[in-house]
């Protein structure tokens, strides 16, 4: 325990302080508590013969506006582990970052590679402690000495281990595809295709998911992070840079007027460059 959590020593037992604070805060808002911003996402993961494939769309929304068209939802945790995050973007970003830092410190302290189950336990403990106030629905996938694993951790701290998973606002659409197409011991191409189709279905059926599809393949040999794996057919052709080379605009006439300047005062200050 001392090896894994350096940033914050967890209090012993259950700590419901935040629940009391939240209940008190709720009273101040007169029934209209602010709702956390959801980012609308489709994320999915599949365990295949040689490892794990994770997939995600790349749209981040702020209510009805697309805030980021190329958002990265597959976060690095360890050389052998990546985590897809759905829910509140800030929460997923910070939670996975914290997890990654703690696992690195653990690795350095103990000299061991972290296992996926350890990452899951840390996430579960942390999200449970905050009682759902951290809006992070995560799919954690990785390969370690015990095999290929895929877990989901919910915002309240519930954990489930499955060979295929989907989360986010588009998860039901993606789940339909996964339920139909999943078989144990898939080959890499079939697994990538399955995840891609699942995310694509989520993008088509859910307003909060869209744009491109990122895929991350984790095996014993290493990680292949393909960003983007599939580009949206509705790619926007607007130029974001408006820099034109010299000669684009033809010069019709040229008039040079030299400015008459006279030296009024001259002062020399030597610099000490010793």
């Amino acid at each position: 325990m001392a090896l894994s959590n350096v940033l914050q020593t967890p209090a012993a037992g259950f700590n419901f302080d935040n629940a009391a604070r939240n209940a008190a805060l709720e009273g101040l808002f007169d029934g209209r508590t602010p709702t956390p911003l959801k980012t609308g996402t489709t994320i999915a993961g599949v365990v295949f013969k040689d490892g794990v494939v994770l997939g995600a769309d790349t749209r981040a929304t702020s209510s009805e506006v697309v805030a980021d068209k190329m958002c990265a939802k597959i976060h690095y945790i360890a050389p052998n582990m990546y985590c897809c995050g759905a829910g509140t973007a800030a929460d997923t970003e910070k939670t996975t970052d914290l997890l990654s830092s703690n696992l690195t410190i653990f690795s350095l302290n103990s000299g061991r590679n972290p296992r996926v189950i350890m990452a899951v336990n840390i996430l579960q403990d942390m999200l449970y402690r905050y009682h759902g106030q951290i809006g992070a629905s995560l799919i954690l996938g990785g390969v370690d000495c015990t095999g290929n694993h895929l877990y989901t951790v919910g915002p309240y701290g519930s954990v489930d281990k499955m060979p295929y998973l989907s989360m986010g606002s588009g998860h039901l659409a993606a789940l339909g595809v996964l339920e139909d197409g999943y078989k144990p011991d898939l080959e890499l191409d079939k697994a990538k295709e399955l995840v891609c189709v699942a995310i694509h279905t989520g993008i088509m059926s859910d307003l909060g998911s869209g744009n491109n599809i990122d895929i991350c393949v984790i095996t014993r040999q290493g990680v292949d992070y393909i960003r983007p794996y599939q580009v949206s057919e509705y790619q926007d052709k607007r130029k974001t840079k408006y820099k034109y080379g010299p000669g684009t605009t033809p010069v019709l006439t040229e008039k040079v007027v030299p400015l008459k300047l006279e030296v009024v005062e001259e002062a020399v200050q030597p610099l000490d460059t010793a």
């Binding site: 037992g13 259950f14 419901f16 629940a19 579960q124 999200l127 449970y128 009682h131 759902g132 919910g154 915002p155 309240y156 701290g157 519930s158 954990v159 489930d160 499955m162 039901l172």
Partner: protein, 217 residues
């Protein structure tokens, strides 16, 4: 056993569930369904494991909020492990149930989780305890819990006999789970059963299509 009035009060993933445990001659059978739902609207997992091992021959079934139940069983596992190291002997089943009871009672305002603990120890042999939502602890020869248990009180009262054989008890438990899963919408999936005796613990999983079928199915 105490029951929540509506599972929709549980925030996040809930295990609207059917859990049971029964003692037989020489051991105990503990079992559950495998469905987890969110708000009673859709099934979030068809294969969730609700029968958790807290020690070598002591298992727990969970009901209520999945997050709360998993957190409590995790803490209980740690406490029991520590306790058994300190005592130098495997813990008693009552000890496991007491650990759960203390956690449920002390945090009753924030937790929504109930448990059935069953196991075998050298002092009293096979035992079953129920720890309800508020932290009540009662030892019984047979007990059922979860939202699906309402549909099988009659069956259990009529069909349970003390000192059954292992096969009879396993069949009784399977039938009870099948009946409850057939009527309760938030219970379903596969039937997870664990048979605990002096020799150890044995898992039996009955997939949905192999469950016993009754009249009108």
């Amino acid at each position: 056993m105490e029951k929540r009035s509506a599972d929709s009060r549980v925030k996040g993933v809930s295990t609207g569930t059917t859990i049971l445990a029964a003692t037989f001659d020489g051991g105990v059978v503990i079992g559950s369904d495998s469905r987890a739902s969110i708000g009673g609207d859709f099934v979030s997992s068809k294969t969730i494991n609700k029968v958790i091992q807290v020690h070598d021959k002591i298992y727990c079934c969970m009901a209520g909020s999945l997050a709360d139940a998993q957190a409590v069983t995790k803490a209980a596992k740690f406490h029991l492990s520590f306790h058994s190291v300190q005592m130098g002997t495997p813990p008693l089943v009552i000890a496991a149930a007491s650990v759960l009871q203390e956690l449920c009672y002390k945090n009753k305002d924030e937790l929504q989780a109930g448990f059935i603990t069953a196991g075998w120890d050298r002092k009293k042999g096979p035992q079953v305890y129920v720890v309800s939502l508020g932290g009540m602890l009662i030892g019984q020869p047979v007990t059922i819990g979860g939202s699906g248990s309402t549909y099988i009180y009659g069956y259990v009262d009529a069909k349970y006999k003390p000192n059954m054989s292992r096969e009879e008890c396993l069949q009784f438990a399977t039938n009870a789970l099948a009946l409850a899963m057939g009527r309760d919408n938030v219970s379903g999936g596969v039937a997870h059963l664990v048979v605990i005796t002096e020799a150890g613990a044995e898992h039996v999983v009955v997939p949905g299509n192999k469950l016993p079928k009754f009249h009108n199915e």
